[in-house]
Symmetry: C3
Subunit: 203 residues, 3 copies
């Protein structure tokens, strides 16, 4: 398994865990919890595939499903829902950031392949990376957290911008992607621990 | 009209009534109520068709629309919105369960035709059967009831599992489908009157 | 630029401003505000394009994006978010109504081209015109305002009905479309200043 496929798998597992935790917290029953886990992990990719008009990978390849199941089993066996705010554990933050970066890169690449313009590529990277979490939040009637706080969705947009520029000047390759991924991962973790926030206009 | 087409029509009428009632209860105006009825009845099928990439039936065939209109007219002429909790009338429960089963079977068959894996077939059956109701609940800012209580969405998943297994071993035919439908209908009604609930993990 | 393209551009700018204002009001951060502006302006068109199965225009043509950016820049430079209820300024109402009419006509024409039935054409006109605003409201957990009050979505449905009838009798041309647009615009402004409301059934 390549490094990139590993990052993708880490993202699926982590996003499934985050959906699972939200489901428990919102009083969903077992079916609702499982759906929240699947929706959070796979929702972004399904939106991406529907937009570019291809059959969602999640419905034809079994492998991605295994990682979601793994996330649910992991959360259950570690009894994560009995712990306080497991989303703030350092290991969770790191894994979640790896998933964010991997999903954003996949989304950007699919957008470039579909010959989207810069906006399309940024939107596809954004939806792939945070669309599942937004669906999760909207489903349980929360304003998507990515819209109100934290320096998170911006990372996906920055990644898309860089990937798009690299593709324009023809330097898109494994090395460039790895550098972008490493830089974005560093930036995300820095933003988390420095508690960076985007400005608001209200007040 | 075959028995299956009749079950499908019953589902459309009942789901339209349920959308109508939710619209009245949430204080929507006449346009909002009509949209809630159409969305609840047709939303699941439209999601299914968009996912498999075919033109939504509701937009090209007029017959399905007539059943939605019939549901609205029925609810209006019986003044259902003046009654207390018409969703709990025995006749409503039976008709709603028939719709659940018919829609889940259609969704599963479309998924098998599109060569989806087990997950894809289950998701398509689930979305076809309960997607309209979920859209209805999310539109008026309720957590979809199918995620929090009752033994309802699980029926759609069980149906999809059985239909998928039958298709795998090559025994998918009218008789098998009828048996699955009858069994699922019985199970749903039993679950309703016994007040079965899936467990929750919170607390 | 034709009169119709101008109306479309006015719609994009105005809808972007309305998303911007909602984002500020709901306490979103800068990223959330920008996304709310893009979603409100482009969401309806993207839904329309996904339903008829073509690549969303917003992702392949850059021009529509410029109008959204123009809306955001306009709102920022006029400091609209510091003013009280700018959505009620006469100029905003007129521009918003022009957008409503232009988007509804585009949606209806795309539906006719896709050989939809009357329902499909009406739904496509409705979703194109008010879908972006509904997504905006659902995203921040409001019941879509178009469902609860005002004589607004009904205009889109009336436009679709008229365009569909014209296409049936073969009199669809620039003059007919302009007449429908002018009549609908007049009706919308009349409805606004007369405070027309659709009836509710509750109580």
């Amino acid at each position: 398994m390549s490094l990139f496929a590993a990052a993708d798998a880490i993202g699926l597992v982590t996003f499934a865990v985050s959906g699972f935790l939200m489901g428990v917290r919102k009083g969903l029953d077992l079916l609702g919890i499982v759906i929240a886990a699947f929706l959070t992990a796979l929702g972004g990719g399904v939106i991406r595939d529907v937009i570019v008009g291809r059959m969602p990978i999640a419905f034809t390849e079994g492998s991605v499903l295994l990682f979601v199941v793994a996330g649910i089993v992991l959360a259950l066996s570690l009894k994560l829902h009995k712990k306080e705010r497991p989303e703030r554990f350092a290991i969770f933050i790191v894994m979640d950031s790896i998933g964010l970066v991997a999903f954003a890169i996949t989304g950007a690449l699919v957008g470039i392949e579909a010959k989207f313009n810069l906006f399309g590529v940024m939107l596809l990277a954004f939806m792939t990376a945070v669309g599942g979490g937004m669906l999760r939040d909207m489903m349980v009637n929360e304003v998507p957290i990515v819209l109100t706080s934290d320096f998170y969705g911006t990372i996906a947009l920055l990644i898309a911008l860089l990937v798009y520029l690299c593709s324009l000047v023809g330097c898109l390759g494994t090395f460039t992607l790895m550098s972008i991924a490493a830089g974005a991962l560093f930036l995300r973790l820095l933003a988390y621990y420095k508690k960076w926030q985007l400005p608001k206009l209200g007040g």
